[in-house]
Symmetry: C2
Subunit: 252 residues, 2 copies
Amino acid sequence: MRVDVLFRWADLDPQEAEGRVVVVIDVLRATSMIAALLKAGAKEIWPVKEVEEARSLAAELGGALLAGERGGVPPDGFDMGNSPREVDPERVQGMPVVLTTTNGTSAIERALRADALLTAALVNTGAVVESLLASDVQRLLIVCAGTQGAFSLDDALCAGGIVSGLCAAVQSELSDSAMAARFLYESQRDKLLGALRSCRHGKVLESLGMGGDIEWAAKVDSIDLVPVRAKDPRGCRIVAARRGERLVDVGR
Amino acid sequence: MRVDVLFRWADLDPQEAEGRVVVVIDVLRATSMIAALLKAGAKEIWPVKEVEEARSLAAELGGALLAGERGGVPPDGFDMGNSPREVDPERVQGMPVVLTTTNGTSAIERALRADALLTAALVNTGAVVESLLASDVQRLLIVCAGTQGAFSLDDALCAGGIVSGLCAAVQSELSDSAMAARFLYESQRDKLLGALRSCRHGKVLESLGMGGDIEWAAKVDSIDLVPVRAKDPRGCRIVAARRGERLVDVGR
């Protein structure tokens, strides 16, 4: 498998996604939130970039829940913020959820031309690795969202966790950034919570009183499902695949 | 000290360099070559982006030597390529050298508005760290050249070596990328030659028969001087400062 890593969403030329399997990562917190929502039983997640777009899509879908943040807090009238800890299974069970965040949904939007599009966070790195291995992926591109245009340690660590997991199972050809991410993860795998607390976005969340989300997001392999984009003419719809499920079989 | 790292020269907005001390890194091979040339007694190095620009500046300076590469080999009529191993002290002693390379000189050109501009490679990381410490730098920006627009492992390792050296001596406030570079370096410090051989540019050099340059470039702290830009109306002129010399005192 050939594996490349981009450390910021703006580094992805949308055309580059074509012909590849793309994994999008925004550990703090969009892709942790997507995993949390699907684990709590949400029917599907619709990530969109703008707040207004989120409102009109929710109306169009007929009663979808609105989730997301601007500056770390939920916009007016939203059903919930972007805190995976606060997802209420009773509320989201069976519901479509429209999600808008600052960095993560931009990364997903850039990757829409991918042959297959997954999202990953530390909480479901192992499940994502197993699905990639089960799917005989030839060319994998891992796209870190980053934080406000800059390299983000949390996302790079997660990218490295995926590379590390793949390399443990199959012969892989790594780009320089994929090698760096792997070395980074393997040097910090026993200290992930500390690394997440010390990074820029972790400090912002602490200052907003959301430090609990960091602990939540640092629980490696606590969630056993893989968020996968399902083709849909209405937009980007993300559903849950099982751990190890072949990507080609996900078309619901 | 506040420390930030950019992993590709194109990530540097030239205005961002203002008010900062900037260290430019292109381990394979521009900044290793600059260190080699100055160690061999070259009077000064003039890095320029284009081959034609190099030829006309050499003529303007009156008999400067021409060094550099395109695709790893010297352009027609150049006195030498970009191989630090092949620098001949008898030839360069006391001479100005105009140097043009594919990635490294682009990085230097982007950083020209810096308050102070240094170049670093693995061969002189320790000397650079001592000069930064001696100069009470407040805001440091380390700019990796990268390889053809992409993240380059060799440069990121060197950036991490500088961050690691600084953190061992003073309390530092690191950006996420600076933390990542530090973790990366500290995990590979005993395996640098292997890492350089496995990276993309290392493989290109091996395939061009220049694998010896990789061994040369991986010799950490083998050179005890700091290449520093000296203000000059004619362009970017780089001269040698001593290990630990205060940057403010370098104006020759």
